[in-house]
Assembly symmetry: C2
Homo-oligomer: 205 residues x 2
Amino acid sequence: MIKRKGLLLVVSGPSGAGKGTICKEILNRRKDIKLSVSATTRKPREGEVDGVNYFFLSKEEFSKMVDNGEFLEYASIYGNFYGTPKSAIIECLENGQDVILEIEMQGARQVKEVYGEGVFIFVLPPSLSELKNRIVGRGTETADEIEKRFSCAFEEIKQIDDYNYFIINKDVDTSVRELEEIISAEKNKVTRYKENIIEKFREEL
Amino acid sequence: MIKRKGLLLVVSGPSGAGKGTICKEILNRRKDIKLSVSATTRKPREGEVDGVNYFFLSKEEFSKMVDNGEFLEYASIYGNFYGTPKSAIIECLENGQDVILEIEMQGARQVKEVYGEGVFIFVLPPSLSELKNRIVGRGTETADEIEKRFSCAFEEIKQIDDYNYFIINKDVDTSVRELEEIISAEKNKVTRYKENIIEKFREEL
């Protein structure tokens, strides 16, 4: 057997492209993939469980982790901090466990700087007008916010260069299949396992 | 729609690993993939059709094509020449047609030099002893030739570095599935289609 390290799957893309739906569905189908749990300083909402939805931390605990370099990435959103704890993920990967990370584009860029061997996947809408429909359809943003998100979208798409793969999210089913094929192909990549392969055959000599 | 160029799938690996069987089976399953037809100076065998099994050429025709740089790769084997004509393949790829090329490792290296954007796939046996069994089982080689092929195999495996993907050929069905997943993933690769994606969205602005 060839020893395989787990894959860190970083799923990002413009808001409204559907990265959340794709990640939720692949976790439903594939019990061998683990979702990374973020840490946050915001208060738990009704029904949220510590260690499942988030790791809920005090501001002091969070900033101590920042100082110790314990986050793969972190950001402040509306006065609360959010971050991806490093050690749990690294431990999973070392044990051959694949981990998925659904994350904003700014966070994805930070992850790439510290863990370039991750698999960076960019989720795109089928078109800009479809993206607008989806953001409007969610009904959670004001007209101003919708306009702002929409006008950012093309600038965001131009950052696709930072990613290894793209998925044009027409329907969830096709997108999840494409994601599964990307995962499989990555497990057949020579650069990931070259040494292990040569070692395996050397043992037979 | 994003305009996609075809993929050149170069399948190689040690003799006896099973690259021929894998290629035959994927062509059975996938009518959208085309097999590259080689040119040769050897005489047609009973039942072989010009343009289907091979392009049968005279030595003069072949060497003129060599002089004109019309081969992706060529080699002389037991006094006959074999080569992969370039223009037909390039035309297919430009039209979005995927082409598969089953080829010896030396030929694969030549192809990589002139067409680095190909997808280079290395077919491995499950083990060296299994490789030996398969070569013996074919019954087409003498004991000397078997020993020679076997002793080359590990040196050949060490050249895996020249390839993008590996497939450990335990059974044809699994191997063909892995090959199909590699093909799909390559069609979602940002580096292949970045400009086309950005262009597609720019048109909407």
